[in-house]
Amino acid sequence: MSPGITYNVYLGRRDAAHFSGATDPNYVGTFSFFDAGSSRDAVFNVTGKLRKLDEAGALDDQPTVTVVPAGTPESGAKPTVAKVRLVAAEP
């Protein structure tokens, strides 16, 4: 079942406890499980974010992706992100 909440995605090294939502410099977007039944991806264009983090020296060789729930998921929901990929594509 759907957890009924959204999840924020952050890119770059930091303690998850310090991520502060949509205005956070490491924030890249928000996704939901509305379409979980069709197993489609949540996609974020992180081009600009990678550039900014790199310029700020806040990017490791192996960047970290952190997913933080915005709220409490419904009990019984077991949301799973099966795979996280970084894909390069021409515009």
């Binding site: 909440i5 949509a22 928000t30 939901s32 509305f34 069709s38 709220g71 894909v87």
Partner: protein, 522 residues
């Protein structure tokens, strides 16, 4: 499916550009097109015009929920189930089982060829691209998310015009990302517990009037506008404007607004009246992106089934939803990203200057009238009358039945479609001459008669092959000129007839049957 195709329909026709006036049997549906503005405008739900539309919308929702016959394509549940039937979204085997049982419940006692039942079979569980059918992996495709929902909202809007007998109704859009924090709250009309627009299965803060992203402020965004491609495949997925918009704000708004029995789940989402305002805004955002000179991809030759305001079947090619101008509507305003100049001219004109064959090939085919039930032919002429595809839902308001002296807003052709033709014997070389609205009792009409529209033959049909998987033989006749001439001479009947006059021997044994007869607009 019948053996005629869009191209064969067009090939059967003459050039477009006809000035037609239609008789009263098409008044309710035709009034929408004949007496309505050339281009409809959809307004923000918070504007004065939008609020006036919401008052009308509440009346329409109440009628669709409480007064429309169960199973009618213009009823609330039918439209909801077109998106998805409440129940499982996966696996597909359970989805299919639920659909079968629901159709049996809705159409108990109705024959398999009941028009509304057939529409339900074709339309329900069709939401693009939020399903997954392992036996037909291309049935749901991410690239169809936006055009399918454009048609879905468009025909829902037409149905409301018919329900209200109001050709000027347009569906408002909910511009939650206007930049005004107050617009992040659901419009107040949806929070009135006495209104047909209210639903209790929303998150409590939503119906309390708080911003929908209360638990994740700023969680909605328009990052999709950074994309310059509509969709771009990547291994096991896709990127681009369409998939990113699908996720956010589309999916996020669903989850912010509803609980697991409402907007937050695909099978129940379209049961909430605010669903339609949300998708109206998604549609507006797509057109906004196109106005920034971003192009849609070449569309495949895929069609989607819908129902129009008259309750008739529609076959809608994906390409016909490419831009709002093709469907003759626009928005009060469009989104322009910060730092981007307002487009001086829309990337597409507001209305096609001419209906070229290419444009016509993308236009939806709409059933405007039918002959109820099969028609059995024989050695004597047979005459049948055309009626609306579904019974009018509500009494027409006086203005809806006013004489149709206005020129049609767009070019169109009318086609008489004879489908599912079967035989019980060999007709030899015998044929039938087909006449449109031939006066009853007219003596021995010839092929020179102005009502003559063509000749039906039985090439390719045999008594041994009446139940092939192709759905049987079909024939199409362009009746545009006949309608035009009859209208011009004031002789077009209120319910035009179709007359088939036998030519040749052996038809009494062959007993041809025309399973379906309809008048289609393209």
């Amino acid at each position: 499916m019948d053996s005629f195709t869009r191209r064969s329909l067009l090939a059967a026709g003459s050039s477009a550009g006809l000035a037609l006036c239609l008789p009263h049997w098409l008044r309710e549906a035709a009034a929408q097109q004949m007496a309505s503005p050339l281009v409809h405008t959809r307004y923000s739900a918070t504007s004065n015009q939008g609020k006036a539309m919401l008052a009308k919308y509440a009346t329409a929702v109440d009628r669709m929920m409480t007064q429309a016959p169960k199973g009618d394509p213009r009823s609330w549940d039918f439209q909801w189930y077109t998106h998805w039937i409440p129940g499982p979204q996966f696996p597909w085997s359970q989805v299919a089982a639920k659909k079968t049982s629901t159709i049996q419940q809705f159409y108990q006692g109705k024959p398999p060829n009941d028009p509304h039942r057939k529409l339900a079979e074709a339309m329900w569980d069709d939401c693009q691209a939020h399903g997954s059918n392992p036996s037909d992996p291309s049935f749901f495709e991410e690239m169809f998310f936006l055009p399918w929902h454009r048609y879905f909202v468009y025909y829902f809007e037409q149905i409301i015009r018919a329900v209200l007998n109001d050709p000027n109704f347009t569906l408002p859009y909910w511009d939650y990302l206007s930049g005004n924090v107050s617009d992040l709250s659901i419009p107040p009309e949806f929070r009135n517990t006495q209104s047909p627009l209210y639903r209790s299965n929303r998150n409590p803060w939503v119906n309390a009037g708080d911003r929908i992203d209360k638990n994740n402020p700023g969680g909605l965004n328009l990052n999709a506008f950074k994309e310059t491609s509509y969709i771009k495949p990547i291994p096991n997925g896709s990127v681009g404007f369409c998939p990113i918009l699908d996720g956010n704000p589309h999916g996020a708004v669903h989850v912010f607004v509803g609980n697991s029995t409402g907007m937050a789940q695909i099978p129940t989402a379209a049961g909430d009246p605010v669903f339609w305002l949300h998708h109206c805004n998604i549609d507006r955002l797509w057109e906004s992106w196109n106005r920034l000179s971003h192009s849609n991809p070449p569309w495949p030759s895929r069609t989607f089934p819908f129902a129009n305001g008259a309750g008739g079947a529609v076959t809608a090619p994906v390409g016909g939803a490419d831009r709002v101008a093709l469907l003759h509507y626009r928005y009060e305003n469009y989104y322009v990203p910060p730092g981007v100049a307002e487009p001086l001219v829309a990337a597409a004109p507001l209305a096609p200057a001419a209906l070229t064959e290419a444009a016509a090939l993308q236009a939806p085919l709409e059933t405007k009238a039918i002959v109820p039930g099969p028609v059995t032919l024989g050695a004597a002429p047979v005459r049948a009358s055309l009626t609306l595809p579904s019974a009018p839902l509500f009494a027409a308001a006086p203005q809806a039945v006013a004489p149709l002296a206005l020129a049609p807003p767009v070019d169109r052709n009318y086609y008489l479609v004879l489908g599912s033709i079967t035989l019980q014997g060999d007709p030899g070389a015998a044929t039938y001459n087909v006449y449109f609205d031939l006066p009853e009792g007219a003596a021995a009409p010839s092929t020179e008669d102005p009502n003559y529209v063509g000749t039906l033959n039985f090439f390719g049909v045999s008594a041994d092959h009446n139940h092939d998987e192709g759905g049987g033989h079909g024939a199409t006749f362009n009746v545009t000129e006949a309608v035009k001439n009859l209208q011009a001479s004031g002789k077009l009947s209120a319910n035009p007839s179709v007359t088939l006059v036998p030519r040749g021997e052996g038809l009494d044994q062959a007993k041809p049957t025309v399973g379906e007869m309809s008048l289609v607009e393209a």
